[in-house]
Symmetry: C2
Amino acid sequence: MARQNSSSAETLRERKQRRARDAIVGAAYALFAERGFDHVTVADIAERAEVGRATFFRYFGGKQEVVFDGDAQVDAEVVAAARRIPADGPIGGSLPAALAYLRSAVALLIERLTESPEEYRLHERLVAANPDLGARALAKQRRYVDTMTELLDERGAEPATASLAAEVALACFYAGRTAAGNDPDRLAKAVDDAFERVLGDRLGG
Amino acid sequence: MARQNSSSAETLRERKQRRARDAIVGAAYALFAERGFDHVTVADIAERAEVGRATFFRYFGGKQEVVFDGDAQVDAEVVAAARRIPADGPIGGSLPAALAYLRSAVALLIERLTESPEEYRLHERLVAANPDLGARALAKQRRYVDTMTELLDERGAEPATASLAAEVALACFYAGRTAAGNDPDRLAKAVDDAFERVLGDRLGG
């Protein structure tokens, strides 16, 4: 996924490192799109990125890792943004309140994930076509449940409420993704609709 | 997971095959419990089960497969039982009706999964401790969403309702599993409580 570095204090060395990483990620995505993930080697990626194999391995453990490049940074940014969402008061045992908060937090995540629609589409295609990448994506999505549970805990949600709301939020994400097909432009609305159906007119306050 | 063969028309050959499979599964589970999954080889399992390696590989592709032995049969039985749950009429676009049906279907699945509490506990411990097994379990749980969506489709649910209800049902399963810890005796109640909270007093009719 696309990364941005907004730090103005970036040193020359950091800038060079970031450029090398970005070149590797760009080359890898281009090659995956052209040939399919299975038919691209690390040597191919290094050659296209005009770096040595050693440089590749300084940044990535293998071609799988390139597909999930930047996830940790995106996740940290989204969590930080989610912490800034104004609270209506402590959530306690209210499932609707917990889901309303996560609805906003998931919207922030989706905004980031679909920032570059082309990269989103290719990422989703790669993950769908490759069982190892699929397994890694599933594991990552399960970790989102832990993150959402923690965020709710920070806002005073009871453990059982936090856990259930986090699971239901992931369910809304998946249902919305199914409804949107692989179209990043429809994802945000489709996921929000899923929250609306679970929460909106039925789960009143 | 435990399997039962209730067919009275089982031939001698089938009975011998089933006994060999059961011996392999029993030996494997005993060894996994004693030494941990990573420290058990196929040769160890074959030796304990008193079969040759060739016999092992006639039934299983590897030690991972033994952990998920019988899942296909359990799943088929649960789906057949779920089809027999009386319908209150076509589900259409009603999320509460779809969830009420899945609540019963998931209860049937849990009853089967926890039939042998010791095996359930060991299975869960193995899956939690081994990333490859964990990935396989996650993929299997995602396939439950497809199965639940199909069952709802057969009962006249609209596609978007079926998809969302199936996702929320899996969410209730996960939340209940978290609440129950690794205790099979608490799982059914904990999952049902999760459905109750999403559905019961809030999502009225």
